[in-house]
């Protein structure tokens, strides 16, 4: 089977990872219109948390990530409750500045603690395991799990948003903050829970980031960029859109790399630009503003 089909399949699987990067960002922006510039660094931070837990307790990365989930949920809740809720208001600048500062603090804090050495989450034989699709195309088990997790995360977020009382509160706050408060919704608590959930998604993203390739404290901003592009391509406010956005960026990158290995990153950005020109509101916009 030809290399293009292979590039397409690998791109879709890579898109799963980008969708995981983007889902947390999409969740936060959708609910509280907060552009979290520290999102990429938070993913890297989560990867180091998983790494540390794995090293301390001698767990494999999956178990370590599971153990990290409640810690990260509480960290997200606390971050929103103690810091970010104070920055939200009519002015969009304070949250941007604060999360930008946070991004610098996290990156440098990690450099201080873990040095600039490349790290990796070691998962053993599953790292190299693959499934043959026939025709000479094989896909890695980890990339497959990544995409499956991305789909799972999107399904779960949609379930929470559209089938639960908490989700109704999320949507009501996103729709009209003032009215939501008058209807008895404690927005600061709702926002803190939302950030906790975003941190859970961030941790899942970090698990696959760390198993797929090497990471070090400085790679956060680039993950943020991919996440942003996926959210914008997919359209604000739609989790399925975000998944599609991630896949489009991923496929563009692998197809670009197939043309010329130097084009991988550029091709992803070009695909983003093309969508921005043709569909400025993204492919599946749900949010009305």
């Amino acid at each position: 089977m030809n290399v293009w089909a292979d590039a397409l399949i690998q791109g879709i699987l890579l898109g799963g990872l980008y969708a995981l990067f983007a889902a947390g960002l999409s969740l936060i922006f959708g609910i509280m219109r907060l552009v979290n510039l520290a999102h990429g660094d938070l993913i890297v931070l989560a990867a180091f948390v998983i790494l540390t837990i794995a090293a301390w307790l001698g767990l494999d990365p999956f178990a370590a990530a599971l153990a990290a989930l409640p810690i990260m949920f509480m960290a997200g809740f606390a971050l929103q409750h103690l810091l970010l809720n104070r920055t939200l208001g009519r002015d969009l600048l304070p949250p941007l500045l604060v999360t930008f500062g946070l991004s610098i603090i996290i990156e440098n804090g990690l450099l201080e603690l873990f040095s600039a050495d490349s790290q990796r989450l070691r998962a053993g034989s599953i790292e190299t395991a693959s499934v043959s699709l026939g025709g000479g195309v094989a896909v890695g088990v980890i990339p497959l799990l990544t995409l499956a997790s991305a789909i799972g995360v999107v399904l779960a977020l949609n379930l929470v948003f559209y089938r639960t009382s908490l989700g109704r509160a999320f949507r009501a706050t996103a729709d009209d903050l003032e009215i939501a408060q008058l209807m008895g919704i404690d927005f600061s608590r709702i926002f803190s829970v939302a950030m906790g959930l975003a941190f859970i998604v961030v941790t899942i993203a970090a698990l696959y980031l760390g198993m797929r390739a090497n990471f070090d404290p400085t790679i956060g901003p680039e993950r943020l960029l991919y996440a942003f592009e996926a959210v914008i391509v997919g359209g604000l406010g739609s989790f399925w859109g975000t998944l599609c956005g991630g896949i489009i960026i991923g496929v563009a990158q692998t197809i670009g790399a197939q043309l010329d290995p130097e084009w991988q990153i550029l091709a992803g950005h070009l695909a983003f630009l093309v969508v921005l020109v043709l569909r400025p509101r993204g492919l599946f916009p749900r949010a009305t503003d």
């Binding site: 009382s165 109704r168 509160a169 949507r171 009501a172 729709d175 009209d176 003032e178 009215i179 939501a180 408060q181 008058l182 209807m183 008895g184 919704i185 404690d186 927005f187 009305t288």
Partner: protein, 239 residues
């Protein structure tokens, strides 16, 4: 037994005094009307009571508890609900969901209890046939009804209605007045801001007049409307 007590309430926006030393008491079960020219500070007063704005001075008490510093969601849970002059439903929610979110979060009810209550309120506000319609697709009368129904879903003891009859036709207005009368009979305390005075006096048993942020009259509707101060403000405005 007084439900709402307001003392020395003051709010300024720059040099504009929107509430100037306002004081009044609303008894439990009472229906109070508030009138006044545009810019008299009526909506500001509601925002102060519901918590959208905080006063520069003065106190607000609900059931004897000082709620002056309470946040909007706390006031909602304490039993204050308000409707907006220009209806602001959650547009992407169905009519039923609009009520459900209010009943679960504001009324502190379980999902199942809330669903039953919401059904009853929709029926009472004659919105049941539209329960599954998106709020964004409603007509003006339906949106006004939804505004009231959603406020009711929070199980309020004090209902603040802001020009709920404004913009409706004569017959729609009469229909709405009927609904509000039925509501009153259930024991909810109502404070109602309205320009359409005849609709107001059909329901309320007391009238307050505001002008330039000041309370200039308070009492029996007929007496208030015939007082010289009020006549002067309302010359040319059909009463």
């Amino acid at each position: 037994m007084s439900l709402l007590e307001i003392h020395g309430l003051r709010k300024c926006f720059g040099s504009v005094v929107a509430a100037d030393d306002i004081a009044f008491i609303v008894a439990a079960g009472e229906a109070l009307g508030i009138i006044g020219p545009n810019g008299a500070g009526k909506t500001t007063l509601f925002n102060l009571i519901a918590g959208g704005l905080f006063p520069d001075a003065g106190t607000i008490r609900l059931d004897g508890h000082d709620i002056t510093a309470a946040r909007p969601h706390q006031r909602c849970r304490a039993g204050i609900a308000r409707s907006y002059q220009i209806p602001r439903p959650f547009e992407n929610f169905t009519v039923f969901e609009n009520l459900l979110v209010a009943a679960v979060h504001g009324g502190r009810k379980s999902e199942a209890d809330a669903a039953q209550l919401c059904g009853e309120i929709l029926n009472r506000c004659r919105l049941l046939p539209r329960a599954n319609a998106l709020a964004g697709s409603l007509t003006l009368l339906e949106r006004k009804r939804l505004e009231m129904a959603r406020a009711l879903a929070t199980a309020p003891r004090l209902l603040l209605l802001d020009e709920i009859a404004g913009g409706l036709t004569e017959s729609e207005c009469a229909e709405l007045v009927g609904t509000i009368k039925e509501l009153r009979a259930t024991g909810v305390t109502i404070v109602w801001i309205e320009h359409i005075v005849h609709a107001l006096v059909a329901v309320v048993d007391r009238l307050i007049v505001l002008n330039f942020g000041r309370k200039i009259a308070d009492g029996n509707p007929q007496a208030v409307m015939s007082s010289a101060d009020v006549q002067q403000i309302y010359i040319g405005i059909e009463a």
